[in-house]
């Protein structure tokens, strides 16, 4: 089984936000919820870099560890998914997540959160692959169709890579060797406890 990962090559990201738009459209993500976003560091200064960030599908995922109802699980492809039928919207996964991935619709009283929503690596949820219920709750299940996440597929500069961790790490390494520089695989140390030497 492949170990699925995301890798954002920040030296290529041009902050076009196509990944954000692709994700929103593919999964019909409601207003106010962003499964993916682009963050610009050192904006307007020398050394500025943009990084596209979503759920990194961590190894030994912290969200999964703190969930009081065991709503979050890791698939055989190492994709971290969750069940909206089991989630109670307590918000703990957001505090534990190193990447700010979990999102909550504002429903009910006070600041109370609805069922958590996050990047599914385009792999849907626990429902039957490609079913109507799955699409309504989690969006499209591209992985079941043999396709990779749309954000990465759509990336115009191929900055955002998705796929088997070893393969995308290899692609990144080759790029770094060829062009002579690379600012590193953002988030890999935190998410996967590993770095790509560059």
């Amino acid at each position: 089984m492949a170990r699925m990962k995301f890798l954002c090559d920040a030296d290529r990201c041009i902050e076009c936000n196509a990944c954000v738009t692709a994700c929103k459209n593919e999964h019909e993500v409601p207003w106010g919820i962003n499964r993916r976003r682009v963050v610009t560091l050192n904006d307007g200064q020398p050394g500025e870099r943009s990084v596209s960030m979503a759920c990194m599908h961590c190894t030994d995922a912290p969200c999964q560890a703190v969930c009081p109802t065991s709503a979050i699980f890791t698939t055989a492809d190492a994709v971290v998914l969750h069940s909206k039928d089991i989630c109670i919207g307590c918000g703990y996964c957001f505090y534990a997540c190193p990447f700010g991935a979990p999102q909550y619709p504002k429903v009910g009283n006070f600041g109370s959160r609805g069922k958590m929503d996050k990047c599914t690596y385009c792999a849907g949820g626990p429902e039957a692959d490609g079913s109507k219920e799955e699409y309504e709750k989690y969006g499209a299940n591209r992985l079941a169709e043999g396709k990779l996440p749309l954000c990465a597929e759509m990336c115009s500069t191929k900055s955002l890579l998705a796929g088997d961790g070893d393969i995308i790490a290899q692609i990144y390494k080759e790029r770094v060797v060829k062009r002579g520089y690379g600012s590193g695989a953002w988030g890999w140390k935190t998410a996967y406890r590993e770095t790509i030497a560059s």
Binding site: D11, V38, T40, P46, Y181, S183, G184, T190
Partner: protein, 343 residues
């Protein structure tokens, strides 16, 4: 003449160029090879490692309204996870089970603290209807808040294996709503408790004596040291309820209205304070409930019917009894009671 000069200049220039080219050619390859390093775009690029060393949260600029999303990375989420997964359950288990073990041990050794002089048959009002209503409203809320709160920390390990995931979610979801809504009457109760009992709960000189003698609870032969309306132990419970309840309410409302006042680091700290204070609070309230029921004869009726036996008042709150008696008629305590002077 001028044409000759022009031709000469032209030739000289051409020769010079050719010479330059000859000189320059051997040096050219290294200068091309070095070019990438001269324009290395990562020379001053932001580095993740460097940022992580400097900051606990890597923050940038985003283009969506949600400012929380401008945090690119916060590895401290992993620390919060280990608190939530390991530290808090251990603190909670040790505090609560430890307290229960202590109480069982205490009961086995000391048994119920008896009324040594028996019942006089005469009673005195200790808590009026309003005070009892406030107490039981706060207590009911506390019990439900405690159970639903402990469910968040321990339910997954203790309860989920016993029931279906759907049933556990239904119960936890209901628990979350109960926890949110009952916070309001609980907070009101804490405020009322603070206001209506502050008079009797300010520290006084007799508290030291009471604490030194362990409230007369530790040895069967010991008499309770003199105390006013509330003894030092009750004063401690009062301040734990007021300050602990206040802390629970403040952190609880911050969690209930997330990110209104603070950022993700603040929310993590808030949840940690809420969790630690909560488990300690629950542990201490077990002791409170114990001494108010099976721990001491004649104690429960104070919050039950609102009246206590005069002998109970004399044994545990002699100064209060004297004050009450003095207040009512300026006379001595009722004569029906055994007239042993309190030590």
């Amino acid at each position: 003449m001028s044409t000759l000069l022009r031709t000469f200049r032209l030739w000289t220039a051409m020769l010079a160029l050719a010479g330059l080219a000859l000189v320059a050619t051997p040096a050219a390859p290294p200068s091309f090879a070095q070019q990438p390093s001269q324009v290395n775009p990562t020379a001053d690029a932001v580095k993740e490692d460097q940022l992580l060393n400097q900051l606990r949260i890597i923050n940038g600029r985003g283009t969506i309204p949600d400012v929380k999303s401008y945090n690119l990375e916060q590895p401290r989420g992993r620390d919060w996870r280990s608190f939530q997964e390991v530290t808090l359950p251990w603190i909670g288990a040790i505090a609560i089970l430890g307290m229960l073990a202590l109480l069982v041990l205490f009961y086995l050794m000391r048994g119920m603290v008896r009324l040594e002089s028996g019942r006089s048959g005469r009673t005195i009002v200790r808590f009026n209807a309003f005070e009892r209503f406030v107490h039981w409203m706060t207590a009911t809320c506390f019990i439900i808040l405690a159970i639903t709160g402990l469910n968040i920390t321990f339910g997954r390990k203790l309860l989920l294996p016993l029931m279906s995931p759907d049933a556990f979610t239904a119960w936890s979801q209901a628990g979350k709503y109960a926890h949110n809504f009952l916070s309001f009457p609980f907070t009101l109760g804490v405020v009322l408790i603070f206001l209506m009992w502050i008079g009797g709960n300010l520290p006084s000189g007799s508290d030291i004596e009471w604490l030194r003698k362990g409230g007369g609870l530790l040895r069967r032969s010991a008499h309770a040291p003199p105390a006013g309306r509330f003894n030092a132990g009750q004063k401690m419970i009062y301040w734990i309820v007021v300050l602990g309840g206040g802390a629970m309410a403040a952190t609880g409302y911050m969690l209930m209205f997330p990110f209104y006042l603070t950022d993700v680091a603040g929310m993590q700290n808030t949840a940690m304070v809420h969790g630690i204070v909560a488990v300690l609070f629950v542990a201490i309230m077990f002791a409170h409930a114990y001494i108010g029921t099976i721990g001491m004869e004649g104690a429960f009726e104070a919050m039950g019917t609102g009246t206590v036996d005069v002998n109970w008042a004399r044994e545990h709150h002699s100064k209060w009894l004297e004050d009450e008696a003095a207040k009512s008629r300026g006379a001595a305590p009722p004569s029906g009671a055994r007239a042993t002077p309190a030590e």
